[in-house]
């Protein structure tokens, strides 16, 4: 008896789930940070890393920005994994290339940010 061929994993739902989760996480972080700031009256300033390191309301706001800006990167990673698992090798490699380039943008931003 032969087992039926396995269905390839769907592409849309995992990407959609990643995008939705990232958006909700980001909005929650920003909203919570804003409310905490209203309650405590402490206003945090600085770049994202300084905000997170400083704790309190700023940490939530900083984390919200990190979640938001990393969501497209994570979604690209998910897309490349799913496409490769589906056997769409060339499309998967294109997605992987886009993922690598976005990662390089992050590294370039860190280098430029560190030097300025």
């Amino acid at each position: 008896m032969t087992t039926p061929p396995r269905e390839p994993p769907p592409l849309g739902p995992p990407i959609a789930l990643t995008l939705r989760a990232g958006t909700l996480l980001a909005v929650a972080g920003l909203a919570i940070g804003y409310v905490v700031e209203l309650v405590t009256g402490q206003s945090a300033r600085g770049n994202v890393i300084e905000l997170i390191a400083g704790g309190g309301a700023g940490a939530f706001i900083g984390a919200g920005f990190v979640a938001l800006t990393l969501t497209p990167l994570v979604a690209l990673g998910v897309a490349s994994v799913v496409l490769l698992r589906r056997g769409e090798r060339s499309r998967g490699l294109v997605a992987l290339l886009a993922f690598g380039l976005l990662l390089a943008s992050l590294a370039a931003g860190a280098i430029v940010g560190g030097s300025s």
Binding site: V48, F65, P72, A75, L102
Partner: protein
Amino acid sequence: MPTDLLLLLSGVAAGAFGALLGLGGGILIVPILTLGFGLPLSAAVGTSLVSVIATSTGAAAVNVRAGRADVRLGLTLGVGTVVGALTGGLVAGLVPERVLAGLFAALLVYTAVTMLRGLRTRPEEEATETVDPAAPDGPDAPRYRSTRVPVAVGGSFLAGNVSGLLGIGGGVVTVPLVHLLMGAPIRIAVATSNYMIGITAAAGAYTYLLRGDLDPRQAAPMVLGVAGGAALGALVGTRFRTSWLIVLFVIVLGYVAFEMAMRALAPT
């Protein structure tokens, strides 16, 4: 506090307009922040890019699941936009603010003209077009075939460059590119562009965020407003006549283009 409230409300307006017209909202956010709130252009561009990510991820989650966005096409063109946005973001720090303001004014005029032309030649029979992401080669495959892919990847580099330089998602370039050049139906072009602009904006946003050009605390109300406005726009979108919205939008764009041009031409 009143400034935060105004930023939030401005974000809601920009997000709603963006969602109703298939744009990221950056085309309005940059002028609002520079002309309305007096922010330096670099801070406005950074804030706008982060806001565009919020608009894109929220809407793309719905569009990708519903099969309206062509993910594979978006990924292919995304390679070009990411490289373009990265170079645009890096170069922006070296370009004088007056030059950026002049470029933005030109972009606004281009957008207004494109929208007015689209108003005259609006396709009608494309509302039911979808792409089934689970079956690219099956019976539910898209009824169009993307053409001129290499040229489009080059065009997407330009879209990314404009995005990184001026803080927009690049939808004003990618929608005509995917629709007119590649032959995708307009709704699929808009949804695919919406998916792409988050990736494009992220590539530019990293530079602005880590270079310290934008103050996250100051940007937070705008980002929250844009996210809320985009959801609101998507919710009420079908109740509005798009043609009236486009006319109103073109008037706003014309005024903002004039203000930006004045800024570019003002004596130092």
